[in-house]
Symmetry: C2
Subunit: 174 residues, 2 copies
């Protein structure tokens, strides 16, 4: 299996000084590599063990959508506040300064559905932990969490220790 790490572009000082941003657009624009990434995510699970794929706005949609399409499974978006039109439930999570909120439609998940949550990048894990709480609030069961990239030096998996976590690409240092 070919390493995908070299397809991720590091953009220094984005979005602010001192941050090395992991740019996935260089992977996405190679059709065979994007397809390969989705196929590798799919190979981690038996689709019979998953009922719903959840994607976190906005880049998470890219991976969740293709995976849902591949498996013919329902796709459910978790979004930033004010984007989902029907009744929602919300969860807050801490940022470096202040906090942020994500939400999901109340009717998106039914009792005991087994849910796979997909996002592009695991940093400190705050967004994904909040996403998992949203699924559980609605009575769903978190089957697992999949990321394209994990910044393992930020130890986000520790915040997600109740769940199975997989990532295709790991960065051990900035």
């Amino acid at each position: 299996m070919q390493d995908m790490k070299h397809l991720i572009r590091n953009v220094q000082d984005f979005p602010k000084k001192g941050i090395g941003f992991k740019d996935i657009t260089t992977l996405l624009k190679r059709g065979s590599s994007f397809k390969d990434a989705i196929d590798r995510m799919a190979s981690l699970y038996n689709p019979d063990d998953v009922d719903v794929i959840v994607g976190i706005e906005a880049r998470g949609f890219i991976f969740a959508s293709a995976l849902a399409y591949k498996w013919g499974k329902p796709l459910v978006p978790i979004r930033k506040p004010g984007k989902l039109p029907a009744e929602t439930v919300k969860e807050e999570y801490a940022l470096e300064y202040g906090c942020d909120t994500i939400e999901i439609h109340k009717d998106a998940i039914t009792q005991s559905q087994r849910v796979l949550i997909v996002d592009d990048l695991l940093a400190t894990g705050g967004t994904m932990a909040a996403a998992a709480r949203l699924i559980e609030k609605l009575g769903g069961r978190v089957a697992g969490l999949i990321f394209l990239i994990e910044l393992s030096f930020l130890k986000g998996v520790e915040k997600l220790s109740d769940y199975r976590v997989d990532s295709l690409i790991k960065f051990d240092s900035e």
Copy 2:
């Protein structure tokens, strides 16, 4: 071919009084319907005539991504300002009050690539017209524009008359 219109939920007075918002999450959460929507989009083109799939943030990502995966084609995001980390080109478009901007990475498209742009909803066509201008600024050729939903009473196709436009679901009135 089954009509998909009944899978779109109308949410009245969202995001503001008097607007009937077309909610696609009710279609997405039926796995077979989401898959069917993507397959119908794919059936509109011979994949040999398309080099790149472009999705417009955020709901456009959902359809563009699955289509790119199906065909094994490159996926390129068009995003709101400040989200893409590398060098971009920008286009403005008019809103009811004021204007908005979208951007694309400068290295996303190469000369003469044939580009299919995908979004969830055609309203007045302003965003998509700006997206098409972005592709042409980079030297790409717009092979066509695909929407899940067209609000045909808003006559957005008139703003896109230089291009082939397809949509799977048409609403003729509010």
